[in-house]
């Protein structure tokens, strides 16, 4: 008989190996999936995971890697703080949208000014927009004990409706012949989040993501606030005795993650996406949840996981173009990855024992 025996402490080795095992398992299961769709599984897996970095057209794809990874990492870093403390912000998609709307709106208000102050102002407004959107579940949780999971998620739908409203109303391009969508930021250099190194896909948002990784690392290892986040997650009772203020922690975690998601949205809309439009958001807020878990809620891990997840996006697009693989298959692959990760995690927390149980 097989049974599980709880480890006194989670195994570090298993914890580190789990994401790798999960990726391998996803490749195998994904291969089977592609085979069932009538594709050669080896070609499909190679197209998704290998060709974008080492293939013939890698020079194009490599730049895209950071463009896609930037927002994922930025959002996931914020989410990981809350997840560590047992505060579940799953509405990052909404904060991403609101950050983009507020940031873009603040910039467009000054069109066609050429002041160098505009872009910093846009960045600030993006962070504030996302942060305030996340402040709603934070206040409702701390004041009224409302479940932050449900509230933050409901606010995603509200944000989507707002996006639909502003892209055909408030922020619509006055010179756009009535088409929905804002002015393109390429025509507004003072607020444009332009590439710093185009071939590598590095824009200000990518730099911000790297910055967030470093700051989160420092916060978690060197700062009392990071210690409190970790303590609350690992031993909530001890945290209370140690004088951690739960209200402050909830507000800090939610607002920080909201602000980072807002920044990601703002950088995306003023850069790669180029304009506010009904569907500029591409689900990064939800994929970032997978990134956070896959990265073990650790800043460095999230950096790697963000790059991997960006790879599946780019590889997925490539597979769509060359093999005619449906786009949904990639979404499925990403969901699968999280499943396998959660399943493999059992080995980090438990030992497998064979044979019958000895008498107690």
């Amino acid at each position: 008989m097989i049974r599980l025996e709880k480890r006194p402490e989670p195994s570090k080795a298993w914890s580190a190996a789990a994401p790798v095992l999960a990726v391998v398992a996803t490749m195998i299961a994904g291969g089977l999936l592609f085979a069932s769709l009538g594709q050669d599984p080896f070609v499909a897996i190679r197209t998704i995971f290998w060709d974008p970095i080492f293939g013939e057209f890698a020079f194009y794809y490599r730049g895209q890697l950071l463009v896609k990874a930037g927002p994922l990492i930025l959002i996931a870093i914020g989410l990981s703080l809350g997840f560590r403390a047992g505060i579940w912000n799953i509405g990052a998609e909404g904060q991403y949208i609101v950050g983009a709307i507020v940031g873009a709106g603040a910039g467009l208000a000054f069109f066609p000014s050429e002041s160098f102050l505009i872009f910093p102002f846009v960045i600030l407004c993006g962070a504030i927009g996302g942060g305030l959107w996340a402040l709603i579940p934070a206040i409702l949780k701390t004041r009224f004990n409302t479940n932050e999971i449900l509230v933050s998620l409901m606010l995603v739908y509200v944000a989507e409706a707002m996006l639909a409203s502003v892209s055909s109303g408030l922020l619509r391009n006055p010179d756009g012949q009535g088409f929905p969508g804002s002015r393109n930021f390429r025509d507004f250099p003072a607020a444009h989040n332009d590439y710093i190194i185009e071939s590598a896909g590095i824009h200000w948002g990518v730099l911000a993501a790297f910055g967030a990784v470093i700051l989160a690392y420092v916060l978690l290892t060197r700062h009392i606030l990071g210690f409190q986040v970790r303590l609350t997650g690992e031993a909530p009772r001890a945290a209370r005795f140690a004088g951690v203020n739960p209200t402050r922690l909830v507000v800090f975690c939610l607002v920080t993650s909201g602000a980072l998601a807002g920044l990601a949205g703002m950088f995306e809309v003023t850069g790669p996406a180029g304009q506010i439009s009904i569907d500029f958001n591409s689900g990064y807020g939800f994929t970032a949840i997978i990134v956070a878990f896959l990265g073990r809620l650790h800043p460095i891990g999230i950096l790697l996981a963000g790059l991997l997840m960006a790879l599946t996006y780019i590889g997925g697009e490539a597979a769509q173009a060359t093999l005619g693989l449906p786009g949904a298959a990639i979404q499925l692959l990403q969901g699968m990855l999280l499943f396998f990760l959660l399943a493999v995690d059992v080995f980090a927390n438990f030992r497998i024992r064979f044979g019958t149980r000895e008498a107690a």
């Binding site: 004990n145 998620l153 409901m154 509200v158 109303g169 949904a328 927390n349 438990f350």
Partner: protein, 308 residues
């Protein structure tokens, strides 16, 4: 405002509420057993696509609904295996289930966009349907509407009067005590999760087969999350789930009718209203800390492991 017929409004209220009602009653049973499954949205959309595909291919909505229940339950098996046997975090696993379900349904349904579902006939209840006004509001619906209400009554009676209901609640309130009494905690939770999955699948299929009736990607649009909110609103009581779902359905129908009536409020603000009202209701219900804590199953969301 003159364009809105209150009679039609009330009659369509029950149709609009049924998907959430089905999903919410299933989730309520799951939570009563002490498991928090946040994957309702994923199971609903999977049920929606399974039901639609099978109904289109067989031409029978009934077989479609059976397939939807099977699809939802099938997806919930993944959740049950992970959380009950591999003891994974329920919040994370539920989220994974939703993300996975959204992808899976999009993949299955890609060839079915723009097709119409075979029609499900209304089943007016003889005599009762002929009552003026009331008959039209209450007794001229399709079978699933009546079934969903019967399901509420069934769940209520099972939880309140049967031995199995008592065991299920014991497992949810204190799994260690239930285990000590010799009940198979994991098996009972597994069954509850399956039931929740089947209900969510039915709810999803109701959207794709009757309410809309078409298939589009992501068509459940947060209904699963609203069902989760309704369970909290209902304080884990079956009849209150009914009230909550109908209240919510009423708001949805009203805002749709206001949109159609060409009210001065922009469409976008009307369409965000159901979500805002859900938040408002959650706030009101949760504000009373002592009551909210009293009604929630005590073991909700905690993993059960025997050897300690």
């Amino acid at each position: 405002m003159g364009a809105i017929d209150p009679l039609v409004l009330l009659a369509s209220l029950m149709v609009a509420s049924t998907p959430i009602l089905l999903a919410a009653i299933g989730e309520m049973v799951v939570e009563k057993a002490g498991v928090l499954n946040l994957g309702v949205e994923g199971m609903m959309i999977t049920g929606a696509v399974c039901g639609f595909v099978i109904a289109v291919n067989t031409g029978s909505p009934t077989i479609g609904f059976v397939a939807a229940a099977a699809g939802g339950a099938g997806l919930s098996v993944l959740f049950a295996l992970l959380t009950q046997y591999l003891l994974s975090n329920q919040v994370a696993t539920g989220l994974a289930l939703t993300l996975f379900g959204l992808g899976l349904s999009a993949l299955i349904g890609q060839g079915y966009v723009g097709i119409k579902a075979p029609a499900t006939g209304d089943l007016p209840i003889p005599l009762l349907a002929d009552i003026p006004i009331l008959g039209r509001i209450l007794f001229q619906h399709d079978l699933m509407v009546y079934l969903s209400i019967a399901l509420i009554a069934g769940v209520w009676a099972t939880l309140k009067y049967t031995r199995f209901g008592l065991i299920l609640r014991a497992v949810g309130e204190n799994h260690d005590a239930a285990h000590a009494l010799g009940y198979k905690v994991v098996h009972i939770r597994f069954l509850a999760i399956l039931f929740g999955g089947a209900c969510a699948g039915l709810g999803g299929a109701y959207i794709s087969l009757i309410r809309v009736p078409q298939w589009t990607e992501g068509m459940t649009a947060g209904a699963g999350w609203i069902a989760l909110a309704i369970v909290v609103f209902a304080s884990w009581k079956p009849w209150r789930v009914l009230i909550g779902a109908y209240l919510f359905g009423g708001i949805t129908v009203l805002q749709l009718n206001l949109q159609a009536a060409g009210l001065k409020i922009p469409v976008e603000y009307l369409s965000m209203s159901p979500y805002l009202i859900t938040i408002l209701v959650l706030v009101i219900i949760s504000a009373d800390r002592s009551r909210a804590a009293l009604n929630a199953p005590a073991s909700l969301g905690r993993s059960f492991h025997t050897s300690h």
